[in-house]
């Protein structure tokens, strides 16, 4: 009986965790500036993806693995899907075990407007990642990032 109770408590805790892991936060035109403030003097990685981007799925699986190893990695996942696709975005993140990651989603269907706030040169190709070092010098990469490159980035940031 005690074992069962413990099992029950564990389930309750888990379900509470899931309930908290809600929809991604809205990524607006002023979000990049807010993030720069939040990570003042610290490195972080912005990774953009969408539910209809085949090449993004493998990269998300890689992030899921890395975040399981080190849950406090400064990795922010941003879906560029239109706001009405929030349920699909949330479902995909949950399936990958990324429900508790630092998740964001474009808050405006005018994606060009939000891309402009991030990088005026980014035409929307996916996946797209931006690595900000501690001094917030930024490096942008189009296409899936290799595990080696990601580990190198994350390691150089923590030194």
């Amino acid at each position: 009986m005690r074992r069962l109770l413990r099992f029950g408590l564990m389930l309750l805790a888990l379900s509470a965790g899931w309930a908290l892991a809600g929809a991604p936060k809205p990524f607006a035109a002023d979000t990049p500036a807010e993030l720069a403030k939040r990570f003042a003097g610290k490195p972080y990685l912005l990774a953009f993806w969408s539910v209809d981007c085949p090449h993004c799925q493998g990269e998300l699986e890689l992030f899921a693995r890395l975040l399981r190893e080190q849950p406090d990695l400064p990795v922010l996942l941003v879906s560029v899907d239109a706001p009405e696709l929030a349920p699909q975005v949330t479902a995909r993140l949950a399936e990958l075990g990324l429900g508790n990651a630092d998740n964001w989603q474009f808050a405006d269907a005018r994606a060009a407007r939000l891309r402009f706030a991030i990088d005026r040169q980014w035409r929307g190709e996916l996946p797209r990642s931006y690595w900000f070092d501690a001094a917030h010098r930024v490096q942008g990469v189009s296409g899936a990032v290799s595990e080696m490159a990601l580990r190198h980035w994350l390691k150089s940031g923590s030194d």
């Binding site: 009986m1 069962l4 099992f7 029950g8 389930l11 309750l12 888990l14 379900s15 899931w18 309930a19 539910v51 209809d52 981007c53 085949p54 090449h55 993004c56 899907d81 239109a82 009405e84 696709l85 349920p87 699909q88 949330t90 479902a91 995909r92 949950a94 399936e95 990958l96 429900g99 269907a109 005018r110 060009a112 407007r113 891309r115 402009f116 005026r120 040169q121 980014w122 035409r123 929307g124 190709e125 996916l126 996946p127 189009s142 296409g143 899936a144």
Partner: protein, 393 residues
């Protein structure tokens, strides 16, 4: 015991409710296709200067025509009586062409339940757009895989359809092999679209999500598309699709990207054997928008245009005699803007670019057309609707 069972049952219910929703890629894909704002339109001028428009409304492709360059349109005629999940956004676009005999050809893409899958659909009107034939599926492979991004070329009774097809990729993956990109497939009708020949594979390893650009050079059905070259280099290729043959490498930008740019190029033929190409790249060799000419023997040096700091992209090109007109899209932080630039000597020199139209809402790509020998710009945007305007020489 009963209490214990009840507890287990309660926990089981709790578990079922708390479990994360199973990720249903099929449902997700369908939802995405259904909510996608169908901004992408197909337009064409016929020989009499009438503007034809095909657009998607509630799962139906609708065709209308305008006698006054798009200010007023006829009541639209429905092509597909049964609603379909029609892809009409960005690179995935319906197509329309009007033959010299007045036959109206339309082509579109339906999204299937599985992600990244689709069929190519075709219909025609032989009564001046009053009614359309029952739609047919063009791809003879009916597997639930990608047959998408169709392009249409019409000249007299010849109707050539090209698209990106995943059947080779699928076969390779099933055999445990790797396969880069998709394949370029073609089918042709010689009876004005009444019947089509067998599907023919033209080239393997096309980039899988970039639109095809096509144009007639005499009897040659020329295509310009993003190809996956060795080393995952996604540069452009050029080929005559009407005969089995080799493709030519049309850009050497060296864009190695493990992803799809969703950014096809555009192609125009000038009627004197010259081809005019515009494209986007972020390669090692060059970045941004570029124009180059192909005279049948050699390519001119890539000519850069557009403002990289304003997301310059999605170029279009039209040739009207020796005048070459290029259009593209920019976003300046406030509004989307269509820019044009022109050359009066077949693409050798260019006159300064100018802004043609703007919109602060969501927008389609700019489209350039030849209206009785004059270049016209057509642009569809959410707030302003369809705008058509002559590009002055």
């Amino acid at each position: 015991m009963v209490r214990r069972l009840l507890l287990v049952a309660a926990l089981a219910v709790g578990w079922a409710q708390a479990a994360p929703p199973k990720h249903d890629m099929a449902a997700m894909w369908s939802a995405q296709q259904a909510v996608a704002r169908p901004l992408a339109v197909a337009v064409a001028f016929d020989d009499a200067g009438r503007l034809w428009l095909a657009r998607v409304e509630s799962g139906r492709l609708k065709v209308a025509q305008s006698e006054d360059n798009g200010r007023h349109f006829t009541w639209p005629v429905t092509v597909n009586a049964l609603p379909e999940t029609i892809a009409a956004e960005g690179e995935s676009r319906p197509q329309i062409a009007v033959a010299a005999d007045g036959t109206v050809h339309v082509l579109w893409n339906i999204a299937l339940a599985k992600p990244y899958t689709g069929h190519v659909r075709y219909s025609r009107s032989t009564d001046g757009g009053r009614s359309f034939s029952a739609p047919v599926t063009v791809n003879d492979d009916r597997a639930e895989i990608s047959h998408r991004f169709p392009a249409l070329l019409v000249a007299g009774k010849r109707v050539l359809i090209a698209w990106l097809d995943a059947r080779e990729r699928q076969a390779a993956l099933a055999a445990g092999e790797k396969f880069a990109g998709a394949s370029l497939y073609v089918t042709e009708s010689t009876d004005g679209g009444a019947s089509f020949g067998a599907n023919r594979r033209f080239a393997a390893h096309s980039c899988e999500c970039c639109r095809l650009a096509v144009a007639w050079r005499g009897n040659e059905a020329m295509a310009f598309w993003r190809q996956v070259f060795d080393g995952n280099v996604r540069d452009f290729a050029l080929a005559d699709l009407s005969e089995p043959g080799q493709l030519m490498r049309a850009s050497d930008d060296d864009w190695r990207i493990d992803g799809c740019p969703h950014h096809g190029g555009a192609l125009a033929a000038d009627g004197q054997g010259g081809l005019h190409l515009v494209w986007f790249t972020q390669g090692q060799a060059r970045q941004g928008l570029f124009y180059r000419r192909y005279d049948g023997q050699k390519f001119s040096a890539p000519y850069k245009f557009g403002n990289d700091a304003a997301q310059a992209g999605h170029p279009a090109v039209v040739a009207t005699g020796r005048t070459i007109t290029v259009a593209w899209l920019e976003y300046d932080g406030q509004a989307n803007r269509v820019w044009t630039m022109q050359s009066r000597d077949g693409g050798r020199h260019w006159v300064q670019a100018r802004s043609m139209a703007s919109s602060e809402g969501t927008v389609d790509y700019p489209i350039l057309l030849n209206r009785q020998g004059k270049p016209w710009l057509v642009w569809h945007s959410e707030r302003e609707g369809l705008r058509a305007m002559a590009v002055a020489k």
